[in-house]
């Protein structure tokens, strides 16, 4: 362990790092891109003077001005459409949904215009927009503030969807999304904003289409994203103590799936467990199950198990809410079942 400590210290000196929280990492990524490219701007409710309801844009309006960090009225469909029009005419806007659920009101614009206009214009107009915001099940926020929109948007052609889960990939994905010419939806999670991590000082981005290997292993492939990554890692500790060796992959790219990383893992372990926060019906897990079955059927020794949230509007009561989402104990049971 002493050797590791020396290596870690050396690495810190050679590759300096700084510690911050996830929401600060998002802000740092956004700020750096805004400095780098004056066309990057932010639009959303309370992003300016209030600094963002989760502080992701704190201080940016003071630095860049009220037009670059635009406080919009409460009109999601229209200001998302406005962002799309701005993107078509040369800007690179970031649309913040105060809660991802609010973007249900912008479904018309996201589906019809964001996803389609590059195609229906015959490739003439690009829409380099980033749509981001916190979603997922929080702490007793009630059904409407606890939605997972990734399942609703995944069929829209022409958009990419990524989900961040650590300060490192939050900043990296934010920057990559801002530099991409495609419209990207960046899913953040309400409960992950205060995660702390040391991230590199130098400029870096995370590839939008790649998955992240969290823990290499041999016995089973566990695919997850966003907050469930932490439930999986918690379950992994228990599993390791029980003698299992799970491989944990944070898929990060919800659309398209990184079938290379996922496929290599399946070919190695032959057993797949998907742990997600989407609802059972029509979620990311459902699509992922189909994609893996189609592409890697021959490599599977057992049917894929997909653990999702219950098909229920997220209840307010704490215990009921706990039972709605996948808990580490269920993950352990599922792995044991898979590996029988």
């Amino acid at each position: 362990m002493k050797v590791v400590g020396v290596i870690y210290v050396t690495r810190s000196i050679l590759y300096p790092r700084h510690e911050l929280l996830l929401f600060e990492a998002l802000r740092e990524g956004l700020e750096e891109e805004m400095e780098r490219d004056p066309r990057v701007c932010v639009m959303g409710e309370d992003v300016g003077h209030y600094g963002g309801s989760y502080k992701v844009t704190k201080g940016l309006a003071t630095k860049f001005g009220d037009l670059r960090v635009l406080d919009t009225p409460i009109a999601e469909n229209s200001f998302t459409g406005m962002g799309i029009g701005a993107a078509m005419t040369g800007l690179r806007p970031v649309i913040e949904g105060m809660n991802m659920g609010f973007l249900l009101l912008a479904f018309n614009q996201i589906s019809n215009n964001c996803g389609m206009l590059h195609y229906t214009s015959g490739g003439q107009f690009t829409i380099p927009i980033v749509i981001r915001g916190p979603g997922g099940v929080g702490r007793q926020l009630g059904a409407e503030h606890s939605q997972r929109l990734e399942s609703y948007f995944q069929s829209v052609p022409g958009i990419q969807m990524v989900a961040c889960s650590t300060p490192y990939n939050a900043k990296g994905l934010m920057k990559a999304a801002l530099r991409s010419e495609n419209p990207v939806i960046l899913f953040e999670h309400v409960l992950l904003y205060n995660l702390k991590e040391r991230i590199p000082d130098e400029d870096y981005i995370c590839n939008l289409e790649e998955a992240e290997m969290v823990r290499p292993g041999e016995h089973v492939t566990i695919l997850t994203y966003s907050r469930m990554r932490y439930h999986v890692m918690q379950a992994a500790k228990t599993l390791v103590n029980k003698g299992y060796d799970p491989e944990v992959i944070d898929i990060r790219s919800l659309k398209p799936f990184d079938l290379y990383t996922i496929g290599n893992s399946v070919k190695k372990t032959h057993r797949v467990l998907i742990v997600e926060e989407c609802m059972r019906t029509g979620g990311i897990g459902a699509s992922l199950t189909a994609a893996i079955t189609e592409n890697f059927h021959d490599y599977l020794d057992a049917p894929i198990i997909c653990l999702s949230s219950q098909d229920v509007p997220t209840p307010y009561a704490g215990r009921l809410e706990e039972w709605t989402v996948v808990q580490p104990a269920q993950i352990v049971t599922a792995v044991e079942q898979l590996c029988q």
Binding site: P73, N108, G122, G123
Partner: protein, 424 residues
Amino acid sequence: KISTQPFSLNPTSPTSHDRPLVSPVPTSLFLGSTRKLRLSSSSKLNLHRRPGTVVAVSDVVKQKKSKSTHSLLITKEEGLELYEDMILGRAFEDMCAQMYYRGKMFGFVHLYNGQEAVSTGFIKLLKQQDSVVSTYRDHVHALSKRVPARAVMSELFGKTTGCCRGQGGSMHMFSREHNLLGGFAFIGEGIPVATGAAFTSKYKREVLKEADCDHVTLAFFGDGTCNNGQFFECLNMAALWKLPIVFVVENNLWAIGMSHLRATSDPQIYKKGPAFGMPGIHVDGMDVLKVREVAKEAIGRARRGEGPTLVECETYRFRGHSLADPDELRDPAEKAHYAARDPITALKKYLIENSLASEADLKAIDKKIDEVVEDAVEFADESPVPSQSQLLENVFADPKGFGIGPDGRYRCEDPKFTEGTAHV
């Protein structure tokens, strides 16, 4: 018959062609010539007074025209340009109808016959860098914005030489070169896009410091759209940030079979502008010169940074909502009333009566346009249909968005992937 007639001729009012429900504000409140339509440059929006001014232009322009024979509203060149543009719109749409019934174009096709004055009146005042956003009734907006007739016709035939490579169709005309930002099938969804284009113009001037950027955006939409949330949300945002945009309502009284009066609590759309802090103007949309006068003022306001304007053009479509619409619901008397106000006939009369052009000049233009439209059809006929490799080419600007395949390579690296055999 129901009590609310869509129109009635009121011979006693000075502007007999105005419908009673949208009759203009009494002339004593009217501001006079176009110069006075402008809110004085020193007046900021005073929120304690009624912020905008609701005016109607029909009276004034008619007055002005008859008053002096020396000051005409247009020069000969302008007159011929307007005439040619309207004839192009009309001839093109008539050809579309023919081609549709001959099985050359398909789906939903919405023709603009009768409304040419609005498109010509507004768009001919724009520069190339100004943007236009339209609806599904967009062929003529595209033509007025100078998208070549060949490109539009090919698009309608679904050929690769169409302005959108055949991928958009009748309801999705786009041209980056001419700043035509669509072509939208759902009503109202283009208005936020137009608001965004106007936002970019303001952003370029104020953030990117391109001091001479004064690009204006026009958003065209119909009476039905004025009951839609996006309309109101964008009126609010445009006025709030003083965006360089003009909201042009093409009120042709009918949303397919729904009469504007049956759908709207207060049918006077121009009154809704001041509620949001911008001027609301009602103009006779069958008269290209009146439309042009109002357009000059509204576009000028936007260019000077004074903010948006709502212009309601009273107009009419001579054909059904689309080529699939049997058009049985509209009163033949109403149709006849507006047919008598054909904007092309009106302009022709004006040009000849004021010796701006001769019959021969106009006939020459008619012939020229016939040839342009015939050429467009020929070009479209001879153009190739898209090949299968075009299927997925434009889904993403950056085709890496299709992701990484099981073999570790990006799917787009496979030259055949655009044919649509790649799973995601």
